[in-house]
Every structure is written in structure tokens, then in C-alpha cells.
């Protein structure tokens, strides 16, 4: 039995048992089963990946089942393993296994743990199906599967209205993207008469330049198909326009945010573009759109990240922004760089999210950074892993010596964008550099607000609740032991007597492992991903020329990411350590700019006005006027009313008097006679 089968179906089996067994098998067995299955998958994935890095493995396809055979439409369940899949396998299984473990601690007090772990494993299965897909339909199965799991997990705390709303929003916005993806799949089948990915990619260059009728226009075939598929990728990867669900998805438990909304699912769009790279390569227009959208998202999300107060939202916009980097890398043809950033980003972003989760855990579910401060001494381990994540995302490193993960991948992207020489590539480069400045700023802002300065959590409702709840418990048992309560009366130091404590080891261990990835992933794997054409073995379109040009860029291009990183750090230090009053003054000065950014460029308001309200209006019209007013009124309710009336009347006639009975009989007789006479 091939190990890929165990990797993919182990999590599914665990999800089914834990999900259906639920309370019958209990919390601990469900957790052991799901976590065990993921660690097994992870252990089996790394050898596959390393054998590709070493260059000893070849791409292979493991057939599982026949699926559909209908005329020319034929496709099977089959698991494809090549370099691209191997990268995704380690990313998914590693992060998922660590998130499973982390959730033991984070979800410890939740009453629904088997359900949570079953969803997590189900998600992992769907994601693995997506990345191992050998045809577009199976990819779509995984695509929808991760969407479903994401919906279930965002709405995991379904008693919270905001969580339900966020889950629905994620689902609905993804439908928009999925419609594009579906049309893309249909169109691809129409053009190529197959859904098999290798066959499509082999035939794609031959289709360049042909035209297809779409919406009554004659358009370039490959451009239409690629753009439709890219709309799907935009939805899943939260690109500008279809990004609105991602920040709201932070309503889900933090481990979910780390696994789904940072490391894996949101990168599915990037994966898909890379998987279909020979197809995208045939259309310059499509590539240009991908570049523009990626660059715009990268810049736009970074600007919003600078103003948010919720620690998870900052990281969510950061994710959105980093996904933009990946897309414009793919758009300029540097698919290797895109995948490399995907790979390193998975580690450091999962680390940042889980670290944020650890902070939130320590702060009794307070997520507002205004109520943090000086946590460096309270939760030192969390501080150090967050520091590792921040160094990785801001791209700290010294050229030619050593750098954190993001240093290599982000630099590779920016260099490739500049080296591509095209107009949109240049624009993407400049936007990317500005975004790098902003990234550095908001990342350090997060660090400074959280770990430096003075404690500010006295005003937090969560903390007050925790302290008072705790205090009342104490009153009963320890009213005589005065020394116990002195800790709870020190409100003047901004702590309100609350002292955060470090998370349990099941949460810290994944953080430590991920920080190893965040520190070394770039340094170790840069060669394979960027410089080694043999590594990819045709799994992506490898642009030899561009890869060489990357090394020939001027020195200022190579230095610019480091410079803006330092600039961002200095601005953040100046604003939040040296002169903490500065941000308020800035906001007062540029009130409108701040409001614009703080309100996320008013995208939600715009969509609310353009789509949500008209949709609700239409729905309400159809409901009130159409359904209740017409269908119900003349249908079920009308029939029921008529029956009730008839019943009342029938009983009224049944008076019990003989003469009325005789009258009815005679009337009936007369009526019958009259009828047959006049007929």
C-alpha cells in the first residue's frame, strides 16, 4: 500500500470516527486518534518531500477508484505526487499536526472537542485531496471540501452570532469565486475535452491564440479560461475584491485561523495557479491581471494592517498581503518563488497565529492590543517565538550569510518582479517594496504594543471578568487568608492585579517546532526552490531566463527590502516605544486617511450597499410578496382555509334535525332530476 493513501485517507478515517463517535468515544480518544493520524501523515510526508529535494523521486500517480465514465467525460479518483504536491504535503501535514497538538491546550475547556478535532481532520483530508488532485474535478472536490470545513470551523462556536455571520460570509464570498472556478473547469473541459491536469497542460500551448465565444464576445480562449480559474483562486486566497471574508473568519478558534486561514487553505489559490502554470503562461493578459491583483492586494492589505487593534485581524491582513506577494510572483512567472514564499509563509504565519493564540489564551480571550503591554516578562517563551515569527515575516537577514525564512522568499519575489522587466512587474516591485515597509511597521507595532511598554489590561472587560470571577471564588474559601487577596488590589500599575501566565507545554511545543521552521526554512531550502531547475521536474512552468535575470538585478534592488524593513522598524519603534503619543497625534492630523484605512477602505460598506442590501431586498420581496403573499396564500394556507371553512359548513348542515336531513335528500333528488333533464 502506497504511503500517500495513508497520508490522505488517515485523517479522513480519524475525522469520521471522531465525528460520528463524538461523545460516545469521549474527548481524549477522539483527540488521540485525530492527532495521531495527523502525526502519522506528517511523518510519512517528510520522506516524500526530502526525496524530491534530494532529486531521487519521480512524479507518480496512485489510482484509487473509478469515478465517472460518461461519453468523453472520464475521470477517476487518483492521487498525484510530484514536487509541487510534495511541498504542499509537508506544509499541510506539518502545520495540521502541530495545530492538532496545540489545540489540546487551546481547546481544553471546550465542551465540544471531538467535533472540533473531527472538523480539523476533515479539513486536512479535503486539503490533501485538493493538492493531490490529478484532474480538475477532484481538485474541485477538495476545493469545496476545504470550503465546507472552513465554514464549519469559523462557525464552530455557533452560539456566537458574529461567528455564524462570519461563517456565512466566508461561504457566500467563496461561492462567487467558486462560480468562476466552476465556469473555468467547464470551459476547460469544453476546450480540451478532458479534465486531466497533465493532458490539459500538455495541450495548453497549442491553444494559445485561439478564440472562444463568451458572454456574446469573441475572446482569447486561454485568457478567458485562466481568468475564470483565477477568480476561483481569488476567492479562496482572499485577493482584493473577494478578500472581505478573511478578516471576519478570525471569529473561529485561533488554531483554525493558523491552519486554515494562514498556512493552508488560503494558499490553495496560489497552488492552483502554480499547478496550472503552463496554462497561465499561454496568456499574457491573464498573467498581467494576476500580477496587478496580487500587487494591489499586497499593498492594500498591508495599509489596513497598520491601523487595526485586534491582534488576530492584524495577522489576518498580513496574511492577505503576503498572499498578494505570492500571486504577483506567479504573475511575473516566478512560480518557484511563489511556492517558496508559500512554504516559508506557512511556517512563520502559523507560528504568529499560534503565538497570538498563546497571548490570547494568557489574556483571557482579550484580543485588543490596546489592553496588552509589557507581556515580554510575563510570557517569555511566547514572546521569543513571536519574535522569531516577526523576524521571519519582516525578512531580517544579511545577504550571503544568514536570514530568517521570509528574507529569502520575499527577496526572491521582489527580485523576480523587477527582473521580469515588464511594466506590471515593475509596478508590482514598487508596491511590494512599499508593502514590505508597511509589513515591517505593523509587525513591529504588534510586537511593541503587545510585549513592550506598560501593562494596560486593567480596563479590559475580559481581564476584569476573569479577575472578579476569580476573586469571588476566593472570597468563599480564603476570606481569612488576607495574603492571598493582596495581589488583586494593585490596580494602579495597569494590571488590575492580573498576572498572565505561560501556556501549557502542548501549546508551546508546536510553537517551538514552528519557530525552527520560521528561522531555518528559507536558509535550508532556497537552493532547491529557486536555483535548482531539476527540483521541479516540470511540476511548474520553470522560467530559466527569469531565474537567471533575478541574480543580475542592480544592488539597490537587492538592498531595498532590507532598507525598508529597517525603516519600518524605526518608525514603529519611534511611534510606540520612544514617543507613544505620536500615533494619536498622527491620527488627529490625518483623520480621514486613518478612518479610511481603519474601516478597511470601506469595502464592507460598499459591498453592503451594492450587493447585500439589494439581495436582502429582493429576497424579502420574493418572500413576503411572492412566497407568503401568493404561493402560501393561494396554495397551502388557502387550501387549509378552504378545508376548514368547508368543514365548519358541513358540520353546520349536520344539524341533527330530521327535517333538514330529509330536505337535503329531496334537494339532492331534485337537483339530480333537473340536471339529467336539462342536459
Amino acid at each position: 500500500m502506497s504511503s500517500i493513501l495513508i497520508i490522505v485517507f488517515g485523517p479522513l478515517l480519524a475525522a469520521i470516527i471522531a465525528g460520528l463517535g463524538n461523545r460516545a468515544i469521549g474527548n481524549v480518544p477522539a483527540k488521540i486518534l485525530t492527532t495521531g493520524a495527523l502525526f502519522l501523515s506528517c511523518a510519512l510526508s517528510w520522506p516524500i518531500f526530502l526525496s524530491f529535494v534530494a532529486g531521487t523521486a519521480e512524479a507518480s500517480v496512485v489510482p484509487v477508484l473509478k469515478w465517472v465514465q460518461s461519453g468523453t467525460l472520464t475521470f477517476d479518483w487518483a492521487l498525484r505526487v510530484d514536487t509541487l504536491t510534495a511541498i504542499m504535503l509537508v506544509v499541510i501535514t506539518s502545520v495540521s499536526a502541530l495545530v492538532h497538538l496545540y489545540s489540546w491546550g487551546y481547546m481544553d475547556e471546550d465542551p465540544d472537542q471531538p467535533r472540533f478535532f473531527a472538523y480539523l481532520s476533515l479539513f486536512t483530508f479535503a486539503m490533501l485531496m485538493l493538492v493531490t488532485a490529478d484532474n480538475l474535478v477532484q481538485m474541485f472536490f477538495g476545493w469545496e471540501g476545504v470550503g465546507l470545513a472552513s465554514y464549519l470551523l469559523i462557525g464552530f462556536w455557533f452560539k456566537k452570532p458574529s461567528a455564524c455571520a462570519a461563517a456565512i460570509k466566508a461561504f457566500v464570498v467563496n461561492r462567487v469565486g467558486d462560480l468562476g472556478f466552476m465556469l473555468g473547469i467547464f470551459g476547460t473541459y469544453l476546450v480540451f475535452q478532458t479534465t486531466s491536469i497533465p493532458e490539459i497542460l500538455a495541450a495548453a500551448p497549442g491553444m494559445a491564440g485561439s478564440t472562444i465565444g463568451f458572454l456574446g464576445m469573441r475572446l482569447d480562449t486561454m485568457t478567458v479560461l485562466c481568468l475564470l480559474l483565477f477568480i476561483g483562486a481569488m476567492g479562496k486566497s482572499a485577493q482584493l475584491g473577494l478578500h472581505t471574508w478573511l478578516p471576519d473568519a478570525m471569529e473561529g478558534p485561533t488554531p483554525v485561523s493558523a491552519l486554515i486561514h494562514a498556512a493552508t487553505m488560503v494558499t490553495a489559490g496560489v497552488f492552483m495557479v502554480c499547478r496550472l502554470s503552463p496554462m497561465f503562461q499561454t496568456s499574457d493578459t491573464a498573467m498581467m491581471v494576476v500580477t496587478y491583483v496580487g500587487a494591489a492586494t499586497c499593498f492594500f492589505a498591508a495599509t489596513i494592517g497598520t491601523t487595526q487593534w485586534d491582534i488576530k485581524r492584524v495577522i489576518a491582513y498580513s496574511t492577505c498581503s503576503q498572499l498578494g506577494y505570492m500571486f504577483f510572483a506567479a504573475g511575473v512567472g516566478a512560480y518557484g518563488a511563489a511556492m517558496f514564499h508559500l512554504f516559508t509563509h506557512a511556517f512563520f504565519k502559523a507560528l504568529l497565529f499560534l503565538g497570538a493564540g498563546s497571548v490570547i489564551h494568557a489574556m483571557h480571550h482579550e484580543q485588543d492590543m490596546r489592553y496588552y503591554g509589557a507581556l515580554r516578562k510575563q510570557i517569555p517563551l511566547t514572546f521569543w517565538v513571536m519574535m522569531a515569527g516577526t523576524l521571519a515575516i519582516t525578512g531580517v537577514g544579511v545577504m550571503g550569510v544568514f536570514g530568517f525564512a521570509g528574507f529569502y522568499s520575499k527577496d526572491a519575489i521582489l527580485e523576480a518582479a523587477f527582473a521580469s522587466g515588464s511594466e506590471h512587474g515593475q509596478l508590482a516591485f514598487f508596491l511590494g517594496v512599499v508593502a514590505a515597509l508597511l509589513t515591517s511597521f505593523y509587525s513591529w507595532r504588534l510586537m511593541f504594543l503587545t510585549f513592550w511598554g506598560q501593562p494596560r489590561w486593567a480596563d479590559s472587560e475580559h481581564i476584569q471578568h476573569a479577575v472578579h470571577g476569580h476573586h469571588e471564588d476566593l472570597d468563599e474559601e480564603a476570606s481569612h487568608s488576607e495574603h492571598n487577596s493582596h495581589a488583586h488590589h494593585g490596580g494602579d500599575d495597569g494590571t488590575a492585579g492580573y498576572h498572565p501566565h505561560e501556556s501549557p507545554w502542548v501549546m508551546l511545543l508546536p510553537l517551538l517546532i514552528l519557530s525552527v521552521g520560521a528561522v531555518f526554512a528559507g536558509y535550508v531550502f532556497i537552493h532547491a526552490f529557486i536555483e535548482d531547475a531539476g527540483f521541479w521536474k516540470g511540476a511548474i512552468f520553470y522560467n530559466e531566463h527569469l531565474m537567471h535575470a533575478m541574480h543580475e538585478v542592480p544592488l539597490w534592488v537587492k538592498l531595498s527590502p532590507g532598507v525598508v524593513m529597517l525603516a519600518g522598524l524605526l518608525i514603529a519603534w519611534n511611534s510606540y516605544i520612544r514617543n507613544p503619543k505620536l500615533p494619536a497625534a498622527f491620527v488627529a492630523q490625518f483623520r480621514q486617511l486613518h478612518a479610511f484605512l481603519y474601516n478597511k477602505w470601506y469595502f464592507d460598506e460598499l459591498y453592503n450597499f451594492l450587493f447585500v442590501r439589494p439581495a436582502f431586498w429582493l429576497g424579502r420581496v420574493l418572500w413576503k410578496q411572492g412566497d407568503i403573499g401568493i404561493i402560501d396564500r393561494f396554495g397551502p394556507n388557502g387550501a387549509a382555509w378552504a378545508v376548514a371553512q368547508g368543514s365548519r359548513y358541513a358540520q353546520k348542515v349536520q344539524s341533527g334535525y330530521l327535517y333538514s336531513y330529509a330536505l337535503v335528500m329531496l334537494l339532492g333528488l331534485v337537483a339530480a332530476v333537473s340536471w339529467v333533464m336539462v342536459r
Binding site: 378545508v643 376548514a644 368547508g646 368543514s647 365548519r648 359548513y649 358541513a650 358540520q651 348542515v653 349536520q654 341533527g656 330530521l658 333538514s660 336531513y661 330529509a662 337535503v664 335528500m665 334537494l667 339532492g668 333528488l669 337537483a671 339530480a672 332530476v673 340536471w675 339529467v676 333533464m677 342536459r679
Partner: protein, 487 residues
């Protein structure tokens, strides 16, 4: 055909009459002590009569060999089919009676005798091929029925039921007789064969009036709308064993009679009566269903249910084809089984003192106190509603199929739609039994005979009943063929 052969053909009626007379003497001499024994003997006599008619049914008897007394009666497969059903229903009425009447000290020896005489009348009704024989059979049955309805002489409701039945029955008999005289006047004969021959061709106005009046008189007997008004009052007021009897045997007899009259005597003027039958069918379905909604007494509800079922049966008659007649007979068998099941279940519902429980509200939560009884009752209700896989569905199915094959798609469609209304009140009973808080009223215990009857009825209407569709269909086809043989 000689007189002896004629006597041989009416052997069941002779046996029943003689038994009735002998038992009457026994009751006169032995008094009420003998009432239980009379019922038992009555069941035995009915069993013997059933054996006597089986050969005619299985052999598909028809034609001149079956004609008795120069065309007064016809002992063919059709009448044999109806008689078997009537005997079975009458036997049930005999079996369940003692337990019911003895509790109130009202068990009289005449009960069994009256049932037997009524059966004689019904036997004549279903074999009559002459207006006079028809009338004699009808009146013999009716006179016994009027007495039976008011059998609980001390009970006001029972007396009222008997009186209402009598007065309205007399009116109906008058209408029927008037119709007969018109038919005789315009055709010059009372025999069905002669009438059919005389009516072929242009139909005179007088004969048409006669036809309609005869149908109206028969419609009263089968309680088709608008001649149904007596049914709820009589069914509610009459003692429950009698209601069981009314709802089954006379319905079978009157419907068989109506089939013989319309398809045989007026068979050549189908166009004249078909629309009237269609109206009566639809009106019965709708009024039966509407009337049942809102009833609080289970017997009254079953009365409306029987009106409703007659409507479905008339759809088969309206088709006017052998298939329609066969479908009606199949439906009748299933209807009798369902009705017997329903009324036996009602008879078994007694409070701790043995007083019968008739309120639907008293059935609340029956599933928890008397699960088997509730299950049987639920099966009866679902079957009456015509919900597969219960056997009641089959009856409706064959009738609608016959109507569709006869080209009456709208009629079938309306019938099916209207049966949805019926489902509401049938299933409401199930809801009351299974989902309401227990009322804890039904506590009384029943003897094995009731349980046996209920079990037979429940098994018959259960999905197991479908095992019988083939043999039932074959017998019904025999009977229908015999009915149409002369035509």
C-alpha cells in the same frame, strides 16, 4: 329452469331463513339466557352458508344456470363474492356483540336472529335481478336494521338513531318505490333483462325519472352524498357492534345492488347515470373528508370515513367497466377489513369499569398505555388514508387505475387530491395516540375473540395483504365477469 333447481340456487338464503326462524323460537322459549349461544350458532350457520357459496365464486358461475325463479334472483359469482363478504361482516357483528351488551344487561336473544334476517335480506339484495326481489331484500334488511339501531332501548341516543334511520329510510324507500313504478310503467317489466332491453335506444323522460329515483333510493342505503345525512347520527347513536355491522355488511349489499342495477338493468343507458354517480362520488369524498375534520367522537369520525370511502368506491362504478367493477369489489374487501379493524379497536377501548370510550381525546398517549392496540389503530388509520405500504393503498390504487383506464383522468385526479384532506384527520388520530400526553382513560381488558379479530384485520391491511392481491384480483375478476355476462 325447474323449481327444485331454483331452490338449490338459493340454499344459503333458505338455510339462513330456517335457522333464523328456529333461533327465534329458541329465543322465545329460552329467553335471554340463550343469547350468547344464539350468536355462536349464528356464526356457525354463516360459516356453512359461506361454504355453500364458495363453489359459485371460484367456479365463476354465470349465465342461465344461475338464474332462479324465472329471473327473480341470480346466484352467480358476483352475488357469491358479495355474500361471502356480507357473511364475514355479519359474523364479526355476532362475535363482538355479547361482550358489549352484557355489560349493560341489554343482551337480548333477538340480536342474533335479527342479524341473520338482515343477512337473508342482503343475500336477496345482491342476487336480485328483478325490481320486486330487490325491494323485498332491501326492506327485509332495513326492517332488521331499524330495530338493531335502537337495540339499546333504554339509551336515548340509540332510540334516536333507530327513529331517524327509520323515518329517513322510509322516505328513501318511498323514493325507490316511486322510481320502480316509473321504470315499470315506461318499460312494462320489472326484470332487469327486460328493462335493459326496453331502455336500449332513446330514453323516455319517464324512464329517466324512474332511473334517477331508483338511484336516489339506493344512494340512501350506501350513504352517498347528498343522501348521507343520517349516517353520522345513526353510527354514533347505535350500539357499537351494530355500527360495525352497518358500516360493513349493508354497505356491501347496497353497493353490490347498485352495481347490478346500474350496470345490468340500466347498463344500456350508462350516459344517463354516469354523471350523477360521478357527482355523488366526488361529493361523498369531499363531504366525508370535510365532515370528519373536527369530530371529537371516534364513531362519528368513522361514519364520515365510511361516506368518504363510498365516494372512492363510486369512482369505480362511474368507470362502468368490468375493470371498474372488479376494482370496486377489491376495494370493498379491503374496506370491510379496515372498518372491522377500526371498530373492533374502538370496541376494545374501555375504561377501568368497562365503559366504552368513544372520545378521540381519550385516546391521547394510547401508544404508551396500550402499545399493541395503538399500533393496530394506527395501521387502520394509515390504511384508511391510503398510505402505502398498507393495504388500503391498493384499494384506492385499483379504483383510480380503473377510472384512468376508462378515460376519466380528471375524476381520478380530483379524487386523489381530495384524499389528501382525508389523510389529515386519519393521521391526526395517530398523532393523538402517539404524541399527546397520556390521558390514561383506556384501561379495560378485552377477550381473546376481539384480539383475534383485530389481529386478522390488522394482518390483512398490513403490507402482508399484498400477498393476496393476485387471488383477490382473480376472484374479483370472476365476479365482475359474471356481472357483465348478460350485458
Amino acid at each position: 329452469m325447474d323449481f327444485a333447481a331454483s331452490l338449490g340456487l338459493v340454499a344459503p338464503e333458505i338455510l339462513l331463513s330456517v335457522s333464523g326462524l328456529v333461533l327465534l323460537l329458541v329465543s322465545a322459549w329460552a329467553g335471554d339466557k340463550a343469547s350468547r349461544a344464539i350468536c355462536i350458532v349464528g356464526v356457525a350457520v354463516l360459516a356453512v352458508c359461506a361454504v355453500l357459496v364458495v363453489p359459485a365464486l371460484c367456479g365463476g358461475a354465470m349465465g342461465t344456470d344461475t338464474v332462479a325463479f324465472d329471473g327473480q334472483l341470480k346466484a352467480d359469482a358476483f352475488s357469491a363474492f358479495a355474500k361471502l363478504l356480507i357473511y364475514a361482516a355479519a359474523a364479526v357483528a355476532l362475535i363482538v356483540a355479547p361482550a358489549y351488551f352484557e355489560r349493560v344487561g341489554a343482551m337480548r336473544a333477538e340480536y342474533g336472529v335479527l342479524i341473520l334476517f338482515a343477512v337473508v335480506g342482503m343475500g336477496i339484495m345482491v342476487s336480485a335481478t328483478d325490481l320486486l326481489a330487490l325491494y323485498i331484500g332491501l326492506e327485509l334488511n332495513s326492517l332488521a336494521a331499524y330495530v338493531l339501531a335502537s337495540f339499546l332501548r333504554t339509551d336515548g341516543r340509540s332510540a334516536e338513531a333507530g327513529l331517524k334511520y327509520f323515518v329517513l329510510g322510509a322516505l328513501a324507500s318511498g323514493i325507490l318505490l316511486f322510481g320502480m313504478s316509473l321504470v315499470y310503467g315506461f318499460t312494462g317489466t320489472t326484470g332487469f333483462d327486460g328493462i335493459r332491453a326496453a331502455l336500449s335506444g332513446e330514453l323516455s323522460m319517464g324512464a329517466l325519472f324512474g332511473l334517477i329515483f331508483v338511484l336516489a333510493g339506493l344512494a340512501f342505503k350506501i350513504s352517498a352524498v347528498p343522501f348521507h345525512m343520517w349516517t353520522p347520527d345513526v353510527y354514533e347513536g347505535a350500539p357499537t357492534p351494530v355500527t360495525t355491522f352497518f358500516a360493513t355488511a349493508p354497505k356491501v349489499a347496497a353497493l353490490a345492488l347498485a352495481m347490478r342495477v346500474t350496470l345490468d338493468a340500466f347498463g344500456s343507458q350508462e350516459i344517463a347515470w354516469q354523471q350523477v354517480i360521478i357527482f355523488a362520488a366526488l361529493a361523498s369524498i369531499v363531504v366525508g373528508a370535510l365532515g370528519a375534520i373536527g369530530q371529537v367522537n371516534i364513531k362519528r369520525l368513522l361514519a364520515y370515513s365510511s361516506i368518504n370511502n363510498v365516494g372512492f368506491l363510486l369512482i369505480g362504478l362511474a368507470a362502468g367497466t368490468p375493470q371498474g367493477a372488479a376494482a370496486m369489489l377489491v376495494y370493498l374487501v379491503i374496506y370491510v377489513a379496515m372498518t372491522v379493524g377500526g371498530f373492533v379497536a374502538v370496541l376494545m377501548m374501555k375504561d377501568a369499569d368497562g365503559v366504552p370510550v368513544e372520545g378521540i381525546a381519550d385516546l391521547a398517549g394510547l401508544s404508551r398505555t396500550r402499545p399493541v392496540l395503538a399500533l393496530c389503530m394506527a395501521a387502520v388509520m394509515f390504511s384508511l388514508a391510503g398510505i402505502p405500504p398498507l393495504f388500503g393503498f391498493w384499494g384506492k390504487f385499483v379504483v383510480f387505475q380503473a377510472a384512468v383506464n376508462a378515460g376519466m383522468v380528471p375524476l381520478a385526479a380530483i379524487g386523489i387530491a381530495a384524499s389528501v384532506i382525508g389523510a389529515f384527520y386519519y393521521i391526526k388520530i395517530v398523532k393523538v395516540m402517539y404524541f399527546d400526553e397520556p390521558a390514561d382513560t383506556v384501561k379495560g381488558i378485552s377477550d381473546w375473540a376481539h384480539w383475534a379479530l383485530l389481529a386478522i384485520a390488522a394482518l390483512f391491511i398490513s403490507p402482508l395483504g399484498y400477498l393476496l392481491t393476485k387471488v383477490l384480483g382473480a376472484l374479483a375478476d370472476n365476479a365482475a365477469t359474471a356481472l357483465f355476462f348478460a350485458a
